[in-house]
């Protein structure tokens, strides 16, 4: 499959490339320069014409682009970037799009602070934090396009990443400390990357609708969120054991 990756030089990009390069032909794009053996084109995801041009000849688009803090660029990249990607998909008859974001693009503070057992199909409550809201708006743009075009969008939502075996948190590290618990939405880089392989492999007719959201994290004991849908529909089976973080040392 010919796969376009937007934002390929971010934190997750190298892991996704490593997981996909044995199986697919990759066209990498990023606003920053990238030293890679794969085809690389410098692209600003907020540039509609450029995004449309680089999507020519592709079978799928993966959107890893993100801008979290600058207010102008956050709307440009995280929200309007999705519009540009979907216009490109329409233009080139690309029927498979994999979008990404944080879990709070759906389950913002009004879920996270109070509830447990939260699944990915609840109505979006991103709140007003710039990162969450702009990613949620981007997700909604994708969703509206799927209503009118034969394009399937899979939204893979992540939060904290770590190297399962080598991560050593600093004292007070809010992400994960061995024996002191971890953020109840954490996944290893390797398992996160493998979810993209699943999203490219899945028969589109196996998806319940043209717009599906998935929470991507391994089995965690907190019961805060649910990964059941990702395992059941995508067939994603995370391999890395994170239990050392939530068991007392």
């Amino acid at each position: 499959m010919n796969v376009l990756i937007l934002g390929a030089n971010g934190m997750l990009g190298p892991h996704v490339i490593k997981a996909l390069e044995p199986h697919h032909t990759l066209r990498l794009t990023d606003i920053n320069d990238l030293d890679t053996p794969h085809e690389y084109i410098k692209v600003d995801a907020s540039d509609l014409d450029h995004v449309v041009r680089v999507a020519e000849g592709m079978d799928a688009i993966i959107n890893l682009s993100v801008m979290r803090t600058d207010r102008v660029r956050a709307f440009d990249v995280s929200a309007r970037g999705c519009y540009n990607m979907m216009v490109a998909a329409v233009e080139h008859n690309i029927d498979r799009v994999i979008n990404t974001g944080p879990f709070y693009a759906v389950a913002g503070p009004s879920y996270e602070r109070f509830d447990h057992g939260v699944g990915p199909d609840v109505p979006a409550h991103p709140g007003t934090w710039l990162y969450a809201l702009t990613k949620s708006l981007g997700q909604e743009i994708c969703n509206v396009f799927t209503e009118f075009h034969d394009i399937h969008v899979m939204d893979l939502l992540f939060y904290m990443f770590l190297h399962a075996e080598t991560h050593v948190g600093e004292p007070g590290d809010p992400i994960a400390q061995i024996g002191h618990d971890l953020v109840p939405y954490t996944v290893s880089w390797r398992d996160a990357a493998d979810s993209f392989r699943c999203a490219l492999d899945i028969d589109l007719s196996a998806l319940p609708s043209r717009s599906e959201v998935f929470f991507m994290f391994p089995d965690l004991p907190h019961g805060k969120f649910s990964n059941e849908k990702a395992k059941r529909i995508l067939g994603w089976q995370p391999q890395d054991d994170l239990s050392q973080y939530w068991m007392k040392s």
Partner: protein, 236 residues
């Protein structure tokens, strides 16, 4: 009351400003330099102190969800998402108590005309940039209402129509009726966070139901009503 109206150069905003100015201290802003008989300040509605200064001391912001039809799709989306965000963020910071967003009934046009569509129905935007942009603007409003306690009133307006139109559409809204709805939205006693109202005139075959009170399924919240009563052409 001190009122700020955005997109001051549009026909609707000009009409609203003139109408509201009979009882309120009306201020107008626009991203372009325009001529206005009211207190005018040009603003990009950017992420800057200038936006905070623009709205400081304002009691109600009336923000247009209509896009400039000559603008690019990117600019239309940017305006309704980012500029609406900037306005709301500044409003929260400056303690502005109420925000009125002028959306459109076209968000419900995909439903069968025979259906009794009310504010409880899910919006169905298309990918057409002006409509998609307004839908996204509503979402920005909704999240601020949910999180910050600022009172947001979304008025979904019908098709703005000149008074003398001989064959108005079934979702027509005369400018005076629009002004009446906005006037009511300034100080109506509402839920205190997010309230949505459909607004159109009483034209023949009127497509959308208006003026019905909202009610909650709980036994605590009283019904909420804007008090809007369309006049229609026959009564004008």
């Amino acid at each position: 009351m001190k009122i700020l109206i955005t997109s001051g150069g549009s026909d609707l905003s000009r009409h609203l400003a003139d109408s509201l100015a009979t009882h309120h201290d009306v201020h107008v802003t626009d991203r372009d330099q325009i001529e206005s008989p009211h207190d005018f300040e040009r603003s990009d509605l950017d992420h800057s102190r200038a936006t905070n200064s623009l709205i400081a001391g304002v009691d109600v912001i009336v923000h247009s969800g209509a896009s400039d039809p000559d603008a690019s799709a990117s600019d239309q989306l940017d305006y309704q998402m980012r500029c609406t965000y900037n306005l709301l963020r500044a409003a929260v910071e400056e303690g502005v108590p109420r925000f009125v967003y002028l959306s459109t009934l076209r968000l419900l046009d995909l439903y069968d005309e025979k259906m009794a569509v009310t504010e409880r129905w899910k919006p169905r935007p298309t990918t057409n940039p002006p409509l998609l942009a307004t839908h996204l603007g509503e979402i920005v409003c909704r999240e601020f209402a949910r999180e910050h306690g600022i009172q947001v009133v979304i008025l979904r307006l019908g098709e703005l129509t000149e008074d003398g139109e001989s064959q108005p559409s079934t979702s027509a809204l005369y400018f005076d009726d629009a002004a009446q709805a906005v006037t009511k939205a300034l100080d109506a006693e509402l839920s205190g966070w997010l309230d949505i109202f459909h607004v159109q005139s009483a034209v023949p075959g009127a497509r959308y139901l208006v003026g019905q009170p909202w009610w909650s399924a709980d036994d605590v919240s009283p019904p909420v009503s804007l008090g809007f009563s369309p006049q229609g052409r026959a009564e004008r």
